[in-house]
């Protein structure tokens, strides 16, 4: 088995004067990261490694915490543009979340209509809802969003990185709690093994083809809700095909910031993300970053 690859691309020119993201610089960041992740010569070739004409793609942001601490709609647009460059129609792409309210609060524009541009809606939309039967793995037994089950062939997990009061780290795997009808059942024991077992569901392993971690804003303490004093803006995107490696990297980053700011480690805080090791045992990926090929570049 080849080594997992993780790309960490920075662009400090990405912010506009209001603290939002510049579209051109965001597109540049996403394109460059995809090129480096796939080893392609250009962006279009890079996107074609995961997407082809006729594919129906989902993009799952994390919109729990409102506009100030959610996956960026501007970056989502850059991902959509990348998928379109591979031949997808805009209407074959769905940005989806648990609820419409969360999407709207994070700055996304809802659009339910088929064949009328980019679709964007929550599982709580009328006529959507959850699967008719349970998906089970270990301690996980859930109904899953019909958007994920029926409306898409592949999914890009598009989280942000933040501290989580129970799970320790909220990154890619934790973002998939938004997939199921009963996420509240999966918080005991610091979310272990639930976080890992959810991602080990065969349908999730099959459809979830890429994780893009939006690190243009991240929060290293006080999460998952927005607490501005712990928010930083590293101007970074992280990508990997390995869902464990990317969360292991996120864990390291959160710990770095916590240490610099005199906060106890997550282990000392009794919320070490042990689900990373569980995920590794389940064959989801590599939690030991020394075994991961990490490509770091600053394109500012």
């Amino acid at each position: 088995m080849s080594r997992s690859r993780l790309v960490v691309i920075k662009n400090h020119n990405i912010y506009d004067s209001d603290g939002g993201l510049k579209r051109d610089q965001t597109n540049k960041l996403i394109s460059h990261a995809m090129v480096r992740l796939t080893g392609s010569t250009d962006s279009k070739s890079a996107w074609k490694k995961i997407a082809a004409q006729g594919d129906r793609f989902g993009i799952k942001p994390n919109c729990l915490s409102g506009r100030m601490l959610s996956s960026s709609p501007v970056m989502a647009d850059a991902i959509v543009a990348g998928l379109q460059s591979a031949g997808l129609r805009e209407s074959d792409i769905i940005i989806w979340e648990r609820t419409n309210r969360e999407l709207e609060r994070a700055g996304y524009n809802l659009n339910y209509a088929r064949n009328s541009g980019l679709r964007c809606f929550g599982t709580d939309s009328r006529g959507v809802g959850y699967s008719d039967s349970f998906y089970q793995k270990g301690k996980v037994a859930s109904l899953i969003s019909k958007i994920f089950e029926q409306e898409i062939d592949k999914n890009i997990n598009f989280p942000i990185l933040k501290d989580h009061s129970v799970a320790g780290v909220s990154g890619g795997l934790k973002n998939l709690y938004g997939l199921v009808h009963n996420p509240n059942k999966y918080h005991p024991d610091n979310c272990n093994p639930y976080v890992a077992e959810l991602s080990a569901l065969p349908i999730v392993r099959e459809k979830n083809v890429l994780t893009i971690l939006d690190m243009t804003r991240m929060q290293y303490n006080g999460g998952p809700g927005y607490m501005p004093r712990y928010l930083v803006k590293p101007g970074t995107v992280v990508m990997s095909f390995d869902p464990i490696a990317i969360d292991a990297y996120g864990y390291k980053i959160i710990e770095d910031y916590r240490r610099k700011n005199g906060l106890p480690s997550l282990k000392e805080d009794k919320r070490e993300p042990l689900w990373l090791e569980t995920g590794k045992r389940l064959g989801l990926g590599e939690s030991d970053l020394s075994q991961v090929e990490i490509i770091e570049e600053d394109i500012t």
């Binding site: 915490s65 709580d124 009061s165 009963n182 059942k185 998952p224």
Partner: protein
């Protein structure tokens, strides 16, 4: 979940068929809006985090997150119930369906539930309301005074908090109890008993009877099948009984899981020693459902074994449930063996009690009869 009787006590879920009955009669509105009522038992922690103190789970909940039950949410450092006056299931049931066999037999109970539960039993037959969030069901706006109005209009003497787990809609239940008391309406709680001592002690005086699903006498079973703990439930049972509240138990007998002679014997001994020999215990039949579809329905012989163990252990009022027509559905006088209450399913065929005493030998029969 609370309704662990494993019986066919499915409520009228508004989504399916029950809405019309009550909505047409009482002009009830469905609502997409959740409630925003401050929760009663929690403490604030550092920052915006809170710790829920309603049940032994003691969920630590940060801003915008919910507890295990899925119906209580931290909003900016305050904890709110999302289901106050948001009923997702309702029906007028015979009190025998709860089951409460020694509490006003032959009367009806207006039975209500909201979404949510603080455990996750793999055999839950009402999982489609108990194991979901309130957004995932159709809710009717049904405030306490409206419940009282319906009870009065239908001449229903009792409100039953049931189907899902009333502990998770504690505030709604509490306020309805208080409102009902003003008009002489009785209250019964049908619960798994997984509740902290303080809220339990506060709700008991508002109740007229409590039925607890003791799902097993094994901590391992509680961990593996219920996603809860045994000891807090045993503690709750003692509190309820010691307080003088009328208490009945249900024990859902699941083949190969909680039906060993040893476990049933230990259970019955515990009940006799720590509660009393006159607490009714209903051994009910399991039917495969939800996440436990790999097991067959409980053999009637297994239920009869449990019944015999209870009798041999000195318990005076064991019953077999979910086997309509079985002779162990009836109440017999522990003094002379006379048939006192003859039942067929939820129906009462005959009552031979006089002022709470055996119609033949005069033995006092514990219960709430008048």
């Amino acid at each position: 979940m609370a309704c662990g009787a494993g019986c066919a006590c499915l409520p009228f879920n508004p989504v399916e068929n029950g809405l019309a009955l009550f909505q047409n009669a009482y002009a009830l509105e469905t609502t997409d809006t959740l409630s925003h009522v401050k929760a009663m038992y929690y403490k604030k922690l550092e920052g915006t985090a809170i710790e829920c103190e309603l049940c032994p789970r003691h969920c630590l909940v940060t801003d915008l997150e919910r507890g295990y039950c899925g119906v209580r949410e931290n909003q900016g450092g305050e904890y709110y119930t999302l289901v106050h006056s948001r009923a997702c299931a309702m029906n007028i049931d015979p009190i025998e369906k709860k089951p409460l066999f020694h509490f006003h037999p032959g009367t009806a109970a207006f039975s209500i539930a909201t979404a949510g539960c603080n455990v996750n039993c793999k055999f839950c037959q009402n999982w489609d309301i108990s194991q979901v969030r309130p957004e995932q069901v159709t809710n009717v706006e049904l405030p306490p005074d409206e419940i009282v109005r319906i009870c009065q209009a239908r001449s229903v003497p009792t409100v039953a908090y049931t189907y899902s787990e009333p502990i998770v809609f504690y505030e709604y239940m509490h306020d309805t109890c208080v409102e009902g008391r003003k008009f002489g309406i009785k209250n019964v709680m049908i619960t798994g008993g997984y509740i902290e001592k303080e809220p339990l002690k506060k709700i008991i005086p508002l109740m007229d009877a409590i039925k607890v699903d003791l799902k097993s006498y094994s901590q391992q079973y509680y961990e593996d099948v219920v996603n809860g703990e045994l000891q807090p439930v045993l503690d709750a049972l003692k509190i309820i009984h010691d307080d003088g509240m009328w208490l009945e138990l249900v024990y859902l007998v699941v083949p190969t899981m909680n039906d060993s002679t040893k476990e049933l014997t230990d259970l019955c001994r515990w009940v006799k020693t720590n509660l009393s020999d006159h607490v009714p215990i209903h051994f009910t039949r399991f039917h495969p459902t939800y996440l436990m579809t790999n097991l067959p329905p409980t053999p009637v012989k297994t239920l009869e074994k449990a019944y015999d163990i209870a009798r041999q252990s000195g318990l005076k009022f064991p019953y077999i449930g979910n086997v309509p027509g079985h002779s162990a559905e009836h109440t017999y006088c522990p003094g002379c063996g006379e048939l006192l209450i003859e039942r067929l399913g939820f129906r009462i065929n005959k009552i031979n009690l006089k002022d709470g005493m055996c119609g033949k030998c005069g033995t006092h029969i514990p219960g709430v009869w008048s």
